[in-house]
């Protein structure tokens, strides 16, 4: 086998109240794609942040090409030849694509302080050509979709020409075509001898791309195996250490005829074109489509987060006028954003506050005093129900792992008791165990009479969960399918039905 690039052993890391890594080890060889898997909060990102100098390890040793090294900060990692795409997007929205990619190592000209803007634009263009990515280097990052931003992150990591490349859930925001392209690039790099660490919750990707898999659980190293020698089920078993709940059956169409939400001729700029549909009581309505098809835009418009140009919305037969999210909530509509970091959470506040914050009225006692016993009890209830992994209710949400943050958002909306819930990519970045819990939760909610719109880019998920499926493409609804008719092929056909 090839040279060992990275060897980590005996790694320890504690955060206040959390033993994030205990006696963790990891080995990466040149020319391999090494997948790192584990449940939410298993410590994958933490281990990688130790390797890239974001966190200081409490104990343990790191060897790079056989030599022991200290990596005190991100720059040190870069200089060794280790680059990383972090799980959360880390771009500067006000800067251009090229400026983001070359931040921290801008080519200079003349005296050492003057930037060479042409050069970074040229270099970025070359990079994008290599990646078959059609994007103008001079465009501002804030004008890009999440998927394109993710591609920029990938381009940035590639531009370091590192020997070790770490990708922490790079595909969670990408469309299938973009994932294909990413895999092509990964294989190309692997063949050149680059060592790649690949973190993902999409189990089917492991077989496609990885050579070896390392499994972590609760901050501990479990095992490293060759991908071809194990089954996915075996890996999942190692990850969760128990059997998990699977709903393989598709939901039959509901016989409910009660329309709770009706949207008529919704229009907004180029994003939403003449969208009409209805949602029945107790139904899970899947919204499928490629990234940027306009699904999120429709959801935001219904929720009052963005203004609409024209269109009518009826809730339980009554025409309503939603001008703000506050109005929507009053009408019993809840929305779980796909971008939880930006819209869904107060990252600096604790778990309890985040869960109860949006419905304080419910907990107000005499003279507006907050009934803390009640908020605590309610928060604890949802933390247990969703099995949110947190040392206490007082932990700040920003210190939770990505998947657990998502669960907090869900908990927040459960408290509200909305009749209509719009879930936008509810399982993005969530591990298999938690995913099945969320599926079960959605089913339970629907059975209890709530109506759910589920936007998802993962076709298996849409197919498994929905009673009915609406497919969008470029802002229009291009098809509606019952579960009986729906197949991946048919959905894709509608999803690519461009004008």
């Amino acid at each position: 086998m090839d040279e060992v690039l990275v060897l980590m052993e005996g790694i320890e890391k504690r955060f206040p109240g959390v033993h994030a890594l205990s006696q963790c080890q990891f080995e990466l060889r040149a020319g391999e794609v090494h997948a790192l898997v584990g449940e939410n909060g298993a410590g994958k990102s933490t281990l990688m942040k130790v390797l890239t100098g974001v966190y200081k390890k409490d104990a343990g040793r790191i060897f790079y090409k056989g030599k022991e090294v200290e990596i005190p900060n991100p720059r040190a990692a870069q200089e060794l030849g280790i680059s990383i795409i972090h799980q959360e997007l880390n771009l500067m929205p006000h800067l251009t694509v090229a400026q983001n990619i070359f931040i921290g190592r801008e080519p200079r000209k003349g005296i050492k302080f003057i930037l060479n803007e042409n050069e970074i634009n040229e270099k970025t263009k070359e990079l994008f050509e290599m990646m078959h990515l059609d994007l103008d280097p001079r465009i501002r990052v804030s004008d890009l979709t999440v998927a394109k931003q993710q591609m920029v992150e990938i381009a940035k990591a590639l531009s370091y020409n590192s020997e070790v490349l770490i990708m922490d859930e790079p595909t969670s925001a990408l469309s299938d075509a973009e994932i294909e392209e990413l895999f092509r690039i990964i294989r190309q790099l692997r063949d050149k001898g680059v060592g790649i660490i690949y973190i993902s919750h999409r189990m089917e990707e492991l077989k496609q791309i990885s050579d070896r898999v390392t499994v972590m659980r609760d901050g501990r190293y479990i095992d490293t195996v060759r991908t071809e020698e194990v089954t996915i089920d075996r890996i999942i078993n190692m990850m969760v250490g128990r059997e998990i709940y699977e709903t393989s059956r598709a939901n039959p169409e509901t016989n409910s005829q009660d329309v709770v939400l009706e949207v008529k001729n919704l229009n907004r700029g180029r994003e939403i074109k003449d969208v009409s549909f209805n949602l029945k009581k107790g139904e899970i309505l899947g919204f499928a489509g490629l990234m940027g098809a306009g699904r999120t835009e429709v959801a935001r418009a219904i929720f009052g987060a963005d203004p609409i140009d024209s269109g009518e919305i009826y809730v339980k037969g009554k025409k309503i006028n939603i001008k703000s999210p506050g109005d929507a909530v009053k009408c019993g509509i809840g929305y779980l954003s796909e971008d939880r970091k930006r819209y869904g959470l107060a990252l600096g506040m604790d778990v309890e506050s985040n869960i109860v914050l949006a419905n304080f009225e419910k907990f107000l006692g005499f003279l507006g005093r907050v009934n803390t016993a009640k908020t605590r009890a309610e928060a604890q209830l949802h933390v247990d129900e969703l099995s949110i992994k947190t040392p206490s209710l007082q932990q700040k949400v920003k210190y939770l792992s990505g998947g657990n943050q998502q669960k907090v958002v869900i908990g927040k909306w459960l408290v509200r008791d909305c009749d209509i819930l719009i879930f936008d990519e509810p399982t993005r970045g969530i591990d298999v165990g938690a995913k099945s819990e969320i599926y079960k939760l959605l089913n339970d909610l629907a059975e209890s009479g709530k109506s759910i719109i589920m936007i998802s880019s993962e076709l298996p998920e849409i197919l498994r969960m929905s009673h009915r499926i609406i497919v969008m493409c470029e802002g229009r609804i291009t098809g509606e399918l019952s579960t009986a008719e729906a197949t991946q092929e048919r959905i894709m056909q509608y999803a690519t039905m461009r004008e």
Partner: protein, 329 residues
């Protein structure tokens, strides 16, 4: 072929976004400046005279330099409340060097600049290293420099009686335009160059846009932050020297209140208090809007108290217009 189509579409988006974010904003503020100018000219014959316009330019010069300096800090999503009193502190130090110690004028100038830069350096260190919130660190600096100016000067103005040349720094003229105005323009051009063409400028935006991302990209965030605050302080120092020269004296009781005008100028010019956005040209226009307004209202004999009320309202309106523009994206 297909490729080409997509490309042009991209270019369209890009052009639009450029127009959207930058030019449109500047066009808007610039046209409000012109409109104000026209209105005041029509309202009073005394407004659009050469002398009055020179007066406006002169009164913009010092405030403008302060506003340019504070623009850097605001773009990093920080704030500097100490620019006004640091300016005064720099004037007093210039006075100490020239009038008390009888050093050559050039030392007085350098001393004033250095005093400003030092204050900025301390601000930056408090914020970056000791993690004080910018609001608090610079508020402390405001009070300290205010007190120190009084202590050092013995609460009396320091006059530059022995060195008549000193006054020329601000009040000498080229074709009737006071030097202070030319210094202001030169400072703005240099600041614009720093902000758009150098590493320091790039990191100024980067810090304001997403500090964590900058850190993870290997940028030494603390060091650059200190550098940016120091640069801001340097501009305050320059303003201090200009002020001392213009008044031919260092006035230790002056200074407080200037910081708010400087911040207002930057904000009117489109600098976002949440960071990542702002330009020097915008700030310069903002500074002119402030002084045209003050001057125009005075010429219309609107009482001082009401002037303040009106300016306050204008600042609110300007920022609200900016918020609306952003929302429309």
């Amino acid at each position: 072929m297909n490729n080409k189509v997509v490309k042009t579409k991209n270019e369209v988006i890009q052009k639009r976004s450029l127009l959207r974010s930058d030019s449109k904003q500047k066009l808007l503020t610039f046209s409000s400046l012109i409109v104000m100018f026209i209105v005041f000219s029509l309202a009073s014959p005394n407004f659009a005279t050469f002398n009055n316009i020179v007066g406006i330019l002169l009164s913009t010069a010092v405030n403008g330099v302060l506003a340019v300096g504070v623009t850097f800090v605001i773009i990093t999503a920080g704030i500097d409340l100490s620019v006004g009193t640091v300016m005064t502190f720099a004037s007093v130090m210039t006075g100490v060097f020239i009038a008390f110690w009888n050093l050559p004028i050039i030392f007085g100038i350098l001393g004033g600049l250095a005093a400003g830069a030092l204050c900025g350096f301390i601000n930056g260190s408090l914020i970056a290293k000791m993690k004080l919130p910018p609001f608090i660190a610079t508020l402390g600096m405001l009070m300290m420099t205010k007190g120190l100016s009084l202590v050092i000067s013995g609460t009396k103005p320091i006059y530059f009686l022995e060195t008549p040349v000193f006054r020329k720094i601000s009040m000498g003229t080229v074709f009737g335009i006071p030097n202070a105005v030319l210094i202001f323009f030169a400072a703005a051009i240099i600041a614009n160059f720093i902000l758009t063409k150098t590493v320091l400028g790039r990191y100024t935006y980067a810090l304001g846009s997403n500090e964590e991302a900058a850190r993870l990209s290997g940028i030494n965030v603390d060091a650059w932050k200190i550098a940016i605050y120091t640069l801001g302080g340097l501009f305050s120092g320059l303003a201090g020297v200009m002020m001392a020269s213009r008044l031919n004296s260092a006035q230790p009781a002056l200074g407080q209140g200037y910081e708010l005008e400087a911040i207002a100028a930057a904000v009117i010019g489109g600098t976002s208090l949440s960071g990542g956005e702002g330009t020097i040209l915008g700030t310069v226009i903002g500074a002119f809007i402030m002084s045209v307004l003050i001057n125009g209202l005075r010429i219309l004999s609107i009482p001082q108290e009401w002037q303040t009320v009106i300016i306050g309202a204008i600042v609110i309106m300007a920022v609200y217009a900016d918020i609306i523009r952003r929302r429309q994206r």
